[in-house]
Symmetry: C2
Subunit: 475 residues, 2 copies
C-alpha cells in the first residue's frame, strides 16, 4: 500500500528537525577503531537509544563482551535491539544500521571539521563524518517513526531493529548476537525480511537496490631464504633472492585485463546470458562514471556492460603489496631476507573461500616448483568471506521497487556491489530470509574518505523512501 | 725493505696501550647520521687530531661546510689532513680512514653496550661500534707512528693522511677536498700511491688485498593510473591496476639464477679466462662461508669460482621493494594508485651508469609497451657510481703482498668487493695513482651490524701489517 500523503508532506516540512538530529549525531565522534574514542561510541549508543525510545521503540542495549585493542582490554560498545508491534497479521521487518564511524582528522584533507555537520546551502550537501555512513540512514528510520509516534499512527508492519557500534571494526560480537536473537523467543524471532540501508547508489542520479555482494579470500605468500636482510653489494649474484622468486610468482596470478590466471577459478563462475546482461545494460552508469570515481582514464573496457560485470558478477584478483621488502622513499640497497606478497580474490557465487583456496594453493605451489629455487615458500589464507546474492524478484525487493518509483518516479538500478558487507550474509543465513540493501546516499558520498557528505535531498527523499518501503512491504 | 724487528716486538708488548687508545675512541659515539651526535663526531675529530699531533703528524682540521639534516642546518664535521716528511728521495704514500661510525643501540640486539669497548678474553674479541669500521684501522696508523716518534726513527716514506667524519653518511664534502688538495701545492700533491684500510678479509682466516669494487646504478620505476588508492571491492576488475603492470615489469629484469635479462647489460662484461678464474679458485673461500654469512643454504652454485665471480666480477641485479604499495602487516584490500619498484644493478668494468642506464630505460619502455596498458610509466635513475679495478701487480700491491707474507706468513687473498667504497674512486681519479685496499679486520667483524668487533690479533698483527707495508712500499 502507498505511504500516507501526510507523512510525505510532513517530511518536507521537518527538514530542519532531521538535520538537527543528524548534526547531534555527527558531533559525537563515535570512531570504533580508536580506543580513545570508545566512550564516544557508547555515548552515541545512548543517544540513539534515547531517540528510539522517544519515538516508541522498545529497546535493549546488549553488551557484547570485551576486545583487545592497542594492548588494552576494552568493553565493546553495546548493540541496540528494538521492537514495535507484534501483530500476527502483519509482516515483521528487521532493519539494520550502524552508529560507529571511520576515523577522520581535518589534517587528512577535510575542508571542514569532520565532526561538525556543515550544511552547504549552495550544493545542498550535509558534510561530516558519518553523515552518509551510516548515521543519516539510521536516523532516517527514526524520522519515519517520529511521524507515526507524533500522529498516533500504527506502523503497517511489525518492526525489529538492530543497530551496532562496531561495523567499521569488523562487527565484533554481532554474529553471535544475531544468531542468538534469531532463535525462538529472541528479538529477531519471526522476522520475514531484512532491510539494510548502508550502501550507495551506483551513481549520483538514480536510486538503487542492491542484491549481491562479492566475497573475499585474502592470501599471504611468503618466500624466504637468507637468515636476515642482506647487502646487495656483498650478496648480489651469490644467493637466491626471495624477492626475485616472489615477484615471479606474483606476476603469474592475474593479467592486466583482470583475467585470473589460476586454473579453475574463472571456470567456477557461470557465463552471463543475454537476460543478465540486460540488467547491466539498463543500469544508469557510464565509463565516464567509473573513470571519474577512479580519478584516471583507466577503465578496462569501453563497454559499460563489461566493466559493470567486472565489478559485480566476476571474481577479481588484486595485488596489494609486499611485506618485508624495502617500501620507503629513497634508495636502499637491500636484499630482503623474507618477503610476503599480499593479494586477494573477490568472490562471486558459487565461489567460496573453501572452493577457491585449494586452487590458489595448488597453482602457486606448482609455479614455485618450476622456479627450481632454494628459497622456501609458505602460503597463508588470511581471511575470507562468502559472496552473497539475493533474489531480486522477491516481494521484499518488489516493495522497494514500488517505493522507489513512488518517491523518485524512477525505477531503481538493480546493482551488485564489488565489496563486502559481512553482516548481510549473517542475517541471510541466521534468519533464512530475503535481505534487501536499500541505499540512501549517492555514489560520490565519500564514505571512508575525506569530506564525507549526504545530500540533503537524499536525506529527505531517503526518509520518505524508508517509510514508503514499510507500507509497500506490508502488503 | 723489511720493517725493523724492534717495531714488531714493540707492537706485541704495547697491546694494552693500543686497546686503551681504541677504547677511548669507541667511547665517543661519533655517529655521523644522527644530528644529535654531531658534537660527538667533532669531539672524535679533535681526539684523533691530538693523537696524530702527539705522534708527530703536522695536521689541519678542514671545515667542509654545512649540511641539511632532519630539517636543521648543521656544520659538517671537519676532515683531518696531515703530513710527515717531504724527502724527494722517498715515495709519498697517502693513507685514508674515517672516524665516524654507524648508529648503534643496545636494543638493536647488542650483547654489550655498543659505545663501550669490551675485551672478551675468551674469544680475543674487542667488541664495540667502530672497533673494526674504521676506528681500529685508523688507530693502527697512529700506533705505527707512535713507535717511530718514541724511538726517534724516521719514516721510510713521506706520509700523507686524510681522515674524514662523514663516511657513513655519503662522505659529504670529501670529493671537493680531495680534488682541491690533489692540485699542485695541496696537501696531497706529489702522492705516489694510496692505501685505504676500511674493508675486510673474505673470511676469518686469510689476509686479503682488495683491487676491485663494483659500481652501482639504482632505478625507480613508477607505474600510475588512478588518481588515488582505490578499494579493491569497488574497482577490482574495472580498471587497469598499476601493481599488476609493475610486478610484470619487475619479473622481467632478472632470473632467480642472477642472470640479468636486460639485453646488452651482460654483454658489456668480458668472459673470465682461465688465468682470471685461477685467482678465484685460489681464494680461501667456500660455499659454506657464503651460506654461513647469508644465514641460509641458498648459494647460487656449488662451484666456489662461480659464486665468487658472481659477487666480484659480474654485474648483479637485485629487486629491493616497492614504494606506494601496501607494506604493513595484516590484510589491507587496497589497489595502490601509484607504485614505484626499486631495483639496482651492481656494475663491473667497463660498465658505467652512463653505459647501462640507456639499456635499462629502453628495455623497460619496450616491455611496458607490450603490456598494452592504460597505466603510465616513469623511469628514474636515482644514483650511480662507477666500478673500480686497480692493477694488482702494481708495486703498491706487491709491497702489501710482501708485508702480508712477512706478518702472517701467508699470501693474501686478492679480492674484489661486491659493494662500493666511493672514496676509492675519488682518490684514484683525482690523484691518478694506484689505490690499495688493505683490510685489517675479518669477514665476520659485523661492521654496520650488532656486536661489531675487531679481533685483538687482527688489531696487533694489523698494526704490524700497516707498519711493514710502509717499509715494503718504500723500496
Ligand atoms: Zn557503513
Ligand atoms: Zn563504512
Ligand atoms: Zn668504513
Ligand atoms: Zn662503514
Amino acid at each position: 500500500m502507498p505511504a500516507p500523503p501526510e507523512f510525505l508532506d510532513w517530511v518536507d516540512k521537518n527538514a530542519n528537525t532531521f538535520i538537527r538530529r543528524l548534526k547531534t549525531a555527527v558531533e559525537i565522534p563515535s570512531v570504533s577503531g580508536d580506543a580513545s574514542r570508545r566512550k564516544d561510541v557508547v555515548r552515541m549508543a545512548n543517544f540513539l537509544n534515547e531517540e528510539l525510545k522517544a519515538v516508541g521503540v522498545t529497546t535493549q542495549l546488549i553488551p557484547l563482551g570485551t576486545q583487545e585493542i592497542e594492548g588494552e582490554t576494552l568493553d565493546l560498545p553495546p548493540a541496540i535491539v528494538g521492537r514495535i508491534g507484534n501483530d500476527k497479521n502483519k509482516k515483521t521487518i528487521l532493519v539494520y544500521g550502524h552508529f560507529d564511524v571511520q576515523p577522520a582528522f581535518k589534517s587528512d584533507g577535510w575542508d571542514t571539521e569532520p565532526f561538525e555537520l556543515v550544511h552547504d546551502e549552495a550544493t545542498g550537501r550535509l558534510i561530516g563524518r558519518g553523515a552518509s555512513d551510516d548515521k543519516g540512514p539510521v536516523l532516517g528510520w527514526v524520522n519515519v517513526l517520529q511521524w507515526h509516534r507524533e500522529n498516533g499512527k500504527e506502523l503497517p508492519v511489525n518492526l525489529r531493529c538492530c543497530f551496532e557500534g562496531m561495523e567499521e571494526s569488523g562487527s565484533e560480537g554481532l554474529d553471535e548476537l544475531v544468531l542468538r536473537e534469531s532463535k525462538p523467543g529472541g528479538w529477531f524471532d519471526g522476522v520475514d525480511a531484512v532491510c539494510i540501508s548502508d550502501n550507495y547508489w551506483l551513481n549520483t542520479r538514480t536510486p538503487a537496490l542492491t542484491y549481491g555482494l562479492r566475497g573475499l579470500s585474502y592470501y599471504k605468500v611468503t618466500v624466504s631464504g637468507p637468515g636476515r636482510d642482506l647487502h646487495s653489494g656483498v650478496f648480489g649474484r651469490t644467493v637466491y633472492e626471495p624477492m626475485t622468486d616472489l615477484i615471479s610468482i606474483m606476476s603469474r596470478l592475474v593479467d592486466n585485463r583482470g583475467n585470473i590466471l589460476i586454473p579453475g577459478v574463472e571456470d567456477q563462475v557461470s557465463i552471463a546470458d543475454d537476460d543478465e546482461k540486460k540488467i547491466y545494460a539498463g543500469l544508469d552508469y557510464s565509463i565516464q562514471d567509473v573513470e571519474e570515481a577512479a580519478g584516471g582514464k583507466i577503465a578496462l573496457s569501453s563497454d559499460k556492460v563489461e566493466v559493470l560485470m567486472g565489478r559485480m558478477r566476476h571474481p577479481s584478483l588484486s595485488l596489494h603489496g609486499i611485506e618485508g621488502a624495502f617500501s620507503g622513499v629513497g634508495a636502499k640497497t637491500v636484499i630482503p631476507g623474507k618477503v610476503s606478497g599480499k593479494f586477494s580474490i573477490r568472490l562471486v557465487p558459487p565461489q567460496t573461500p573453501e572452493s577457491v583456496d585449494p586452487l590458489v594453493v595448488k597453482y602457486i605451489e606448482e609455479q614455485f616448483k618450476t622456479l627450481d629455487t632454494k628459497s622456501t615458500l609458505e602460503i597463508e589464507c588470511l581471511h575470507g568471506g562468502k559472496p552473497w546474492v539475493a533474489d531480486h524478484n522477491h516481494w521484499n525487493f518488489e516493495a522497494a521497487k514500488r517505493a522507489t518509483w513512488s518517491v523518485y518516479k524512477k525505477l531503481p538500478d538493480l546493482t551488485r556491489e564489488g565489496g563486502s558487507i559481512p553482516v548481510t550474509l549473517t542475517f541471510a543465513e541466521s534468519l533464512g530470509v530475503n535481505v534487501l540493501l536499500l541505499p540512501m546516499g549517492r555514489g560520490d558520498d565519500g564514505a571512508h574518505s575525506t569530506n564525507e557528505k549526504l545530500d540533503k535531498s537524499n536525506y529527505l527523499e531517503g526518509t520518505k523512501l524508508l517509510g514508503t518501503y514499510l507500507y509497500e512491504v506490508a502488503t
